[in-house]
């Protein structure tokens, strides 16, 4: 049984992606018998291409993806180059880590509430500094160049890339290389990029590509912060997918293929960029320049990093304020009065979404944890570590655009005569939860001292007993932390819930995003704040449970 789990796990990850791609590939070429599509045609591609503004939408998606990824990566790498090992870095790390669990939608809403012309920042400086008493007519949020959308994505991807980079640092021997480079007279920036960066980048390449693919095809952040005339390709796809006119599904399928093409093109451009950087980098190494505006960069990067995390934190605070705001006139920095009425008015409507969110999140997390533990235990028993090729497969669902294959799955389910049900939604969440659970648990699981197992085996205990009584309880903290990561990922899912559930299973996230167009800040504040808080509650539980269970076991806290 255990022997087959790794294969089963890969099936759960890869199966839906491939099936989903088939599910849009055939209708894109006109084949969908249940809707009368029986002959091969390119009409729907023509249809997509002749849709006004669709090229602009595609270029937008491509640009957002490339800029977001490049800027986020640059911030994280410069941050490590300039500040790693300092007190500032440590505190920034503590500031950024919790931001990782804030769902994209909540962060995007927070940012919108902050930077909009009538947002908090403007209120804080008005009218005493700006002289304005009514919100200026500026298009900041939803700006046509997607600047605010990119800002929101960058603020969320920086903590992610920082975390994966920090995980890669121990293997790259950063400290000694930096010291060595410094003794040769290299400044921190050139020293870092010429000695450590290539190794670190190689290790974080898959997460970087995942960020790139995500940013080219993201929907929820695009709805909240992105431009609308025209919207990024993914948002327009979703409109076609949700069109009551059922034949629009052909166009949506062709569009999904086009999204796939846009993301593939972004990856291709990125790969070429990698080659250019590699060649240029090698030449730069040979030239031996030692300094690269280190002092100025150091300050700039600190400001950028603080700014990007402060935006998310302040955004959450302002979400909280709006959720309890009574009357709040424009230039006032704070509402005239506070009230819980916003919450009590929503209480009834919150019940179902909250219940769905918790059910789906807990179930998907449980499935992902069981599969991950089984894979890791099978790995320990067979001695065969997952290959790097298997790791690529793990990232596949994070690199293939969600909007493309999830829509295909939705078509497949309907084509096969199935109806949307909660089990399907749960398994669609597992596709995204599982990679993160696996990635966060694999290292601590493998780092466990196997001599404990040798001792227990020597006492006559078999593999199962060692797993349940020794390894699992000793690794309870990382297991629960991985579960909290998985839960947070599930909370953040928008498309999977919407497309696979055919809109029949509203969650906090789908409701919150649906509120975006309405613009009622008090209601959005309530939903987005709940969305942001749920992952925190998960992490708090993951940390306090072992602390409680092992309150009299000092060694169990040391690395918690």
């Amino acid at each position: 049984m255990l022997r087959h789990i790794p294969a089963l796990t890969l099936f759960f990850l890869i199966g839906p992606v491939l099936a989903g791609l088939m599910g849009v590939l055939l209708p894109a070429f006109g084949l969908l018998p249940s809707l009368g599509g029986t002959s091969l045609t390119l009409d729907y591609f023509h249809n997509v291409l002749s849709t006004p503004g669709v090229l602009r939408s595609s270029v937008l998606s491509l640009t957002v993806g490339l800029v977001t990824t490049a800027v986020s990566l640059a911030i994280v790498m410069l941050l490590i180059a300039c500040w790693h090992g300092t007190k500032f870095f440590k505190s920034l790390q503590n500031l950024l880590s919790p931001l990782l669990s804030v769902p994209h939608a909540a962060a995007a809403f927070g940012l919108a509430f902050l930077i909009a012309p009538s947002g908090w920042l403007m209120r804080l400086v008005s009218p005493w500094a700006t002289g304005v008493t009514r919100p200026p007519d500026w298009l900041i949020v939803n700006d046509p160049f997607a600047l605010s959308m990119m800002a929101g994505l960058i603020a969320k991807e920086v903590p992610f890339l920082l975390l994966v980079s920090l995980a890669a640092l121990p293997q790259s021997d950063l400290r000694r290389k930096t010291v060595l480079a410094a003794t040769l007279g290299y400044g921190p920036v050139s020293g870092f990029f010429k000695t450590s960066f290539p190794l670190i980048y190689r290790q974080i390449r898959l997460p970087v590509l995942a960020v790139l693919a995500y940013a080219t095809s993201v929907v929820d952040v695009a709805i909240i912060l992105g431009p609308s005339t025209p919207a990024p390709l993914s948002v327009r796809l979703l409109q076609w997918m949700n069109d009551p006119e059922i034949t629009e599904r052909f166009r949506a399928s062709a569009g999904a293929m086009m999204q796939l093409g846009v993301t593939a093109l972004a990856l291709l451009v990125w790969f070429m960029g990698e080659q250019l950087v590699r060649k240029g980098g090698l030449r730069a190494i040979n030239r031996g320049h030692r300094r690269f505006a280190d002092q100025a960069l150091r300050r700039i990067i600190a400001v950028l990093a603080v700014l990007s995390s402060a935006m998310v934190l302040l955004g959450i605070i302002v979400l909280g304020i709006w959720s309890i705001a009574g009357f709040w006139r424009f230039p006032d920095a704070l509402p005239v009065s506070f009230t819980l009425a916003n919450w009590s008015r929503q209480a009834m409507g919150l019940e179902t979404p909250l219940q769905n969110t918790l059910t789906i999140g807990l179930a998907a997390t449980a499935i992902a944890i069981v599969l991950t533990l089984a894979c890791l235990e099978q790995e320990a028993r067979s001695g065969k570590t997952a290959t790097s090729r298997a790791l690529v497969l793990l990232y596949l669902p994070l690199i293939v655009p969600q909007v493309s294959f999830l829509f295909g799955l939705n078509i497949l389910v309907l084509q096969l005569g199935g109806k949307a049900n909660v089990m399907l939604v749960i398994f669609s969440h597992v596709i995204f939860v599982l990679p993160y659970v696996y990635l966060s648990l694999a290292d601590p699981w493998r780092a466990w001292d196997t001599r404990y197992a040798a001792v227990a085996h020597g006492m006559g205990h078999g593999a199962n007993r060692v797993f349940w009584s020794v390894r699992l309880p000793m690794l309870l903290t990382p297991v629960l932390t991985a579960a909290a990561v998985g839960f947070a990922v599930s909370i953040g899912q928008y498309l999977a819930t919407l497309l696979i559930g055919s809109g029949r299973f509203p969650t906090i996230t789908t409701e919150a995003v649906a509120l975006a167009s309405g613009g009622d800040r008090r209601v959005i504040g309530v939903y987005a704040l709940i969305q942001a808080m749920l992952p925190f509650i998960g992490f708090a539980a993951a940390l306090s449970l072992p602390a409680l269970l092992y309150r009299n076991r000092r060694a169990m806290h040391a690395n918690g």
């Binding site: 001695g383 001599r451 404990y452 040798a454 227990a456 085996h457 006559g460 205990h461």
Partner: protein, 222 residues
């Protein structure tokens, strides 16, 4: 009483790393005797013990036959070999109390709860740690933890004992006393003992035969 087969018998036990032989041992350890394997770190001693105990890392390959009281154990899984092991770290399970660590070791054939508890308490008393049953292992001194680890492995009723540099992390004072207790208790239980160490003092204190396996290893084939 003692039959010639009793004890631990090693027949051409050989540890290979990338097809290069690291260790090659043929020996018989009678019950109550200690066989010491000397060698610098990195010489494959620990790997050799891992092969005998049945938890060899897959980077290595081992071959050769191991008999315990006349029964072949080299093709048995570790949990069926009844070979206890002590490492240089006590490796007390950090999520269990001292007492739970001991109860975990006592064989399931002893069913009666109060008897199990009594065995654990008596073992603590035997090494001068009376009353530490409910303690958190993390609060023990190095010497105390080493003694708990020793009685833990003995409570599991092994038929042989493997010692992997078990004294090397103790400070000089404790090392003497712990070494004495380990060898005394192993002898009292008539266990064949395999000790690997790089410390000549350990070997002398063990009192048994000493071999340096690399000298007996065949020259690597070209």
């Amino acid at each position: 009483m003692s039959e010639p087969n009793d004890g631990l018998t090693l027949k051409d036990v050989c540890i290979l790393l990338d097809d290069r032989p690291l260790v090659h041992v043929s020996a018989h350890v009678a019950p109550g005797d200690v066989l010491t394997i000397m060698g610098a770190s990195g010489s494959g001693k620990s790997t050799f013990l891992a092969y005998v105990g049945g938890f060899l890392d897959r980077a290595f390959s081992g071959m050769g036959e191991v008999y315990l009281n006349g029964v072949a154990i080299h093709d048995q899984p570790a949990e069926n070999r009844r070979v206890g092991i002590l490492f240089q770290d006590a490796l007390l399970f950090p999520h269990m109390s001292v007492g739970q660590n001991l109860l975990f070791a006592i064989p399931p054939e002893i069913k009666d709860k109060s008897e199990r508890r009594h065995l654990a308490e008596a073992a603590l008393k035997e090494v001068g740690l009376e009353g530490l049953f409910d303690r958190d292992p993390a609060t023990l001194s190095g010497g105390q933890a080493a003694r708990v680890a020793l009685i833990r492995v003995l409570l599991s009723a092994p038929k042989a004992l493997l010692l992997d540099e078990p004294f090397s992390k103790l400070d000089a004072d404790r090392r003497l006393s712990i070494r004495r207790i380990v060898f005394d208790l192993a002898k009292a239980r008539n266990l064949p003992v395999l000790l690997v160490t790089h410390d000549a003092e350990d070997a002398k204190a063990a009192g048994g035969r000493v071999i340096e396996p690399l000298e007996t290893a065949p020259a690597p084939k070209p």
